[in-house]
């Protein structure tokens, strides 16, 4: 079973076309193993990006250096998944 301990989902606001391009370039870096939950489309549309724990620092630095604003949408993906599992178990009982 794949675990997502420490993974975060970042809610990113791209304010111009350059940001969109930068986010697309970021997404193409396969070693970071990023997963766009909402893809970069146009300025003003939020982008949601799931970032594995080992890539978090690199991604946050990239965003900050390029003045792309973001907030943390999900602090720890695995915590939410554990909660979901617990709820399903409870419901089954």
């Amino acid at each position: 079973e794949k675990l997502f301990v420490g993974d975060q989902v970042l809610h990113i606001m791209a304010s111009n076309e350059e940001h969109i391009t930068l986010l697309r370039v970021l997404g193409e870096q396969e070693e970071l193993q990023l997963d766009f939950w909402r893809h970069p489309t146009s300025p003003g549309h939020p982008v949601d990006l799931q970032v594995p724990f080992p890539s978090l620092q690199a991604v946050k630095i990239f965003l900050e250096v390029n003045n792309i604003s973001y907030s943390i949408m999900i602090e720890d993906v695995q915590e939410l998944l554990n909660e979901e599992k617990k709820t399903m178990k409870k419901s089954r009982r």
């Binding site: 997502f4 997963d35 979901e84 419901s91």
Partner: protein
């Protein structure tokens, strides 16, 4: 084993087996209205089931609804289950549902990508694609909503098997997609297609693969406007609406573009709750509110199609 829809927990997420068992219960409870048909098999040989709601009569015009084409979007089959139950329960009670089913059949595929869905329960909760293997690549799966023969292969999808939007080797390469294509083509009288996704709060219509507006743009736009307005009435959930390419992004090979290009004038794609909080991990406490608010919008569209035969 749950044997009654009245004891089934609609406010919880369920496994594929539980959903398939529930389908049988729904059929048992409404034998003169609901039947279950199999339209094909998935890549891993799971049955592809469709619920058929029909009050009889041969070769009636029909409505196609599907949920769960992207495996991790769990809120969509959960909403689908609630909605299918609602359709069955409201026939003979709600005048709109009754009028629709007195003239049209409804086909509802609750788990459109069962291999992916089972995989989200056993191996990777955040899996999106099908589970077919790709020759020459270690990456698995095709995005079943980039695999349709509508602008297939264009820039709004990926040719990389490792991408989440990989279009596949050729249009309709995925059994899950081909089964629907064959069914809708074979039926010949499908008048409405609604494909349900999550989670951007949008109601979209063709095109996604090109910027040109469809000839019916104005009518679809007006209908979408009414639907999202009625959806918002319950909890104030704000949806945007418009053509896919203008509202979200360019996407090639999507189901609603294929439907439109194949004669289905009314083709919509829903993006359910929520914006910027939980994404694909929407808590189960939001299943009923999501399904409940979506219902009037679905009904608006279905009634419009009933009242505007073509």
């Amino acid at each position: 084993v749950e044997r009654s829809t009245s004891t089934f927990d609609f406010a919880s997420y369920h496994t594929l087996d539980e959903i398939y068992d529930w389908m049988d219960i729904l059929v048992d409870n409404h034998p003169s209205l609901v039947s279950k048909i199999q339209i094909g098999q998935s890549y891993e040989n799971r049955p592809l089931y469709v619920l058929k709601f029909s009050t009889g009569g041969p070769n009636r015009p029909a409505i196609w609804l599907d949920t769960g084409i992207h495996a991790r979007e769990w809120i969509t089959p959960a909403t689908g289950i609630w909605t299918a139950n609602k359709i069955a329960e409201e026939y003979g009670r709600d005048p709109s549902v009754t009028a629709i089913l007195d003239s049209m059949d409804i086909f509802f595929e609750i788990v459109t990508n069962p291999d992916g869905f089972a995989f989200t329960h056993s191996n990777n909760r955040l899996w999106r694609k099908t589970r077919s293997t790709n020759t020459g690549s270690h990456c698995i799966g095709v995005d079943p909503n980039r695999n349709w023969d509508a602008g297939f292969g264009g820039s709004g999808s990926s040719s990389n098997p490792c991408s989440e939007t990989y279009r596949g080797p050729y249009a309709h390469s995925e059994r899950e997609v081909k089964a629907i294509v064959d069914f809708i083509r074979g039926h010949r009288k499908v008048k409405l297609v609604i494909s349900i996704h999550s989670y951007s709060q949008m109601l979209l219509f063709p095109y996604g693969y090109k910027t040109a507006p469809v000839p019916d743009h104005q009518e679809l736009n007006e209908l979408a406007k009414k639907a999202v307005s009625d959806l918002a009435a319950l909890y104030g959930t704000k949806y945007t609406y418009g053509s896919m390419v203008d509202t979200i992004y360019m996407a090639d090979g999507t189901s609603i573009d294929w439907a439109y290009d194949n004669g289905v004038k009314y083709a919509f794609s829903f993006e359910l709750r929520d914006t910027g909080r939980y994404g694909f991990l929407l808590p189960s406490t939001q299943i009923i509110p999501t399904a409940t608010e979506t219902w009037p919008a679905l009904l608006d569209i279905m009634v419009h199609v009933l009242e505007h035969p073509y």
